[in-house]
Symmetry: C2
Subunit: 476 residues, 2 copies
């Protein structure tokens, strides 16, 4: 008995796939696309073998496999049929040609990877990073620990102990943060720390006091958790401790260097914020994103070091001091929060990449970390000088009140009626990334532009200021 011919079946002896695989695929394709209708009968294995000029065993093997997988069914003495339960085939949809977008070939990966435009904020100069040394440490760690580094290590969802210990030491020495190493949690960048804390500390509808102007990444994390944001006003000294705000669950601050204004919060205000948090039983986030880069003098110790009540949650980042695509950040939290963080971390993504964590621990312990920070600090200080000199040379009507450190500089227009948003938009059209202060603010804010200067060499800075100055003066 010969069924409805199912040719053309694409069988090609030159292809590397076995004849059985080719026959299997062809039949499956025809069943899936509805070219062979549900319930229709197939040719006998003998007939099909003859038709195709292949061995009968090949056909039997392909039929067996399709039967095992439910595409075909055998009825005793009647032959082999396409499974009638197979359901409605959807040839049109499956046949819809894909509309591939412009394909970027592997060789073009470099063009896909963006360089920051002047004066993009918070960009370290990754060319200063000792990548060769980092790679040597990585290789050494792999030689030493080998395949142990490749396993799942869900026991370390909070980070590898060696790295947590190395960071606890660094934070104690450099930032005055006193903590047990178990309080240090490794995250995928400081953004993940903000996300984790928001999720475990905030319930929908709860109130977060957020520096205004303030860091958009923190806002996004709080809003995602359903929080209601209240403005914590910022003046030339940083966040103004509130006196009469009720029902606050969390306060977000950047005491070392207010983002984006650059103010360094005086100790008295830090104490007042801690006291406010204590009274309101609120948590206090200290986002210490770039304290390493203070030029004229060492940074103030972290606000965390002033808080005996363990309400301050300290967040730091390796994105700025090493390189951003490493995606390592950390936080220091009371031990009481660790179980909730660990549970969420396991549900979220288990643990971070381990090879990088061991490499970073070695980088810290070797002292190379400190050498690198010093090198960057020196370079960035010179670039800040270049920026300010260029601004002065081109007589830009901007004042920069916080030039003692940081990776960014907020420049305020002398004429406060200037529309900084419009100027920023024009700069963007010309290839500059110089945001207006307004984009970080909920409440009205002074007219100003924010310049990140750390990723660009002095010559680029000088030239970019010259070019941007034309547009800025034009827009005033």
């Amino acid at each position: 008995m010969t069924g409805r011919p199912i040719l053309p079946l694409t069988i090609d002896r030159r292809r590397t796939a076995s004849l059985q695989d080719q026959l299997y695929s062809s039949l499956r394709e025809q069943i899936q696309t509805g070219q062979m209708a549900p319930g229709s009968v197939l040719p006998s294995s003998r007939d099909l073998a003859t038709d195709l000029g292949i061995s009968r065993n090949t056909v039997i093997a392909a039929y067996d496999r399709l039967t095992g997988e439910g595409y075909l069914e055998t009825r005793e003495r009647s032959g082999i049929f396409v499974n009638p339960e197979f359901g409605r085939p959807k040839p049109a949809a499956r046949r819809t040609p894909l509309k591939p977008r412009h394909r970027i070939a592997i060789a073009d990966a470099s063009t896909a990877l963006r360089e920051p435009q002047p004066f993009r904020l918070c960009q370290p100069d990754v060319r200063l990073f000792p990548l060769a040394l980092w790679n040597r440490l990585r290789s050494r760690a792999l030689r030493r620990l080998g395949h142990r580094l490749l396993h799942y290590q869900s026991a370390y969802a909070l980070g590898l102990p060696v790295l947590r210990q190395a960071l606890a030491e660094y934070l104690g020495e450099s930032r005055g943060v006193r903590c047990d190493w178990t309080q240090v949690v490794i995250t995928s960048g400081s953004q993940e720390a903000l996300y984790l804390l928001s999720q475990i500390l905030l319930k929908p509808g709860q109130s977060v006091l957020m520096e205004d102007p303030g860091y958009p990444g923190a806002k996004a994390a709080f809003l995602r958790a359903g929080a209601v944001l209240q403005s914590l006003p910022v003046d030339e000294h940083g966040a103004i401790p509130p006196s009469d705000v009720d029902g606050v669950s969390l306060i977000y601050t950047t005491p070392s260097r207010q983002f984006p204004t650059g103010a360094s919060l005086p100790v008295t205000r830090r104490m007042a914020l801690i006291e406010f948090a204590r009274k309101n039983k609120a948590w206090l986030i200290e986002d210490d994103y770039d304290s390493e880069f203070r030029y004229s003098r060492p940074p103030l110790p972290a606000m965390h070091s002033l808080d005996a009540g363990q309400r301050t949650l300290y967040i730091g980042s390796m994105s700025k001091v090493l390189f951003p695509s490493l995606r390592i950040g950390y936080m220091v939290v009371p031990q009481s929060l660790l179980p909730a963080i660990e549970e969420l971390r396991l549900t979220l993504n288990d643990h971070g990449p381990l090879i990088d964590q061991v490499t970073l621990a070695d980088f810290l312990q070797s002292g190379a970390f400190y050498t690198h920070i010093r090198r960057c600090r020196k370079a960035y200080e010179a670039r800040l000088d270049t920026l300010l000199t260029a601004v002065a040379r081109h007589s830009l009507p901007l004042t920069f009140p916080h030039t003692d450190g940081g990776m960014n500089q907020a420049g305020y227009f002398v004429d406060t009626r200037i529309n900084a948003i419009r100027i920023s938009a024009r700069l963007k059209e010309a290839g500059f990334d110089i945001p207006a202060l307004d984009v970080y603010a909920q409440q009205p804010v002074a007219a100003g532009l924010v310049f990140g200067f750390t990723a660009f060499d002095p010559r680029t800075i000088a030239r970019a200021v010259a070019d941007a100055a034309v547009i800025i003066r034009d827009g005033i």
Copy 2:
């Protein structure tokens, strides 16, 4: 005028810190700890310089810095005082000695990194991974792309195009998944894919139909999103398509190899699940966690390939086919979901580590990926033989119905009244990681134990079965 003596100030000429820094730190410490009371007067710079035998300029510089930071304040013609607003000092708390836990030195990192115990589930044998080749590809990528790979690349929160393209090709060829590369999203392990999908697709109180027994990582992600879980019963063929369930928002399945039973879902059931999802306007997750490891024949194409309605969300992992600590997974989703996923990803952790993504793209394109899978498949097939032979040799009363593939094997007790939980607990005491089927189930389930066999060489498997057999027979 000389104030209250503030000695002992620790000034030590042998230390590397400058005298000014030492004086500054000592004073700050005394202010912070309350040893110097708020409002108290300090010695004049001249007096203190004489007392300490250091230059007056050094004292003035330290005083200036402390004044600038708000610790001290200068009152004209009265002298220098500790800032009275400084608030209550908390000497007790700050002085509490830390209780460091047992410190694991860097050299001991290897002991902290755990090897999986027999027969832990879903563990690839990372010793088979071509780490040297991987490292060469990584170095080559760094040479080619250099510091461009180190920047922030927030434009690629969904993953680097090169990797998404390479994966789209792989999934098309090997799994029958037809998609545009833009539909492929890179995640930090498949767990993050489950988390992201849960968060964007589920509202609290919505219903998820979850394979029972089923994968705990998926359950955790759904519960975290506030979903209500309903059991999707599983028999020897895998998930049983439901007929009379209403109000389901999402269905979770492992069609290639049901976790943890190992059943491969027949095509007709796949079609029925897709049809159920279509009728209920529900999403259908296909978690394809180990389809690469099917030994007797190639795996069925993904359920995704049967779904014209774009309700199937395909999830895959590199943890099983490469190595777990890499933390790379992926998903294939309709383009309509991309904006929500991207927004959450940016709020969550911006983007994944980029060097690994480029390296993986090259690993896929070079063909080494396929070679590695073939190598693992061969090794794992032999290990499965070893496991089954050893089980037979030791006459364990367990039957293994799904021995055609997978990384794990569910063995069912012939006597269904046996308490598998108790036996599993005894095995755990003896150093074995062999869970009872019950731990994955909501509804009562057949008495059985699940063995992961892929991470252990044949000799270890044979010995471990011999040792475990004594405990199992003892517990029956």
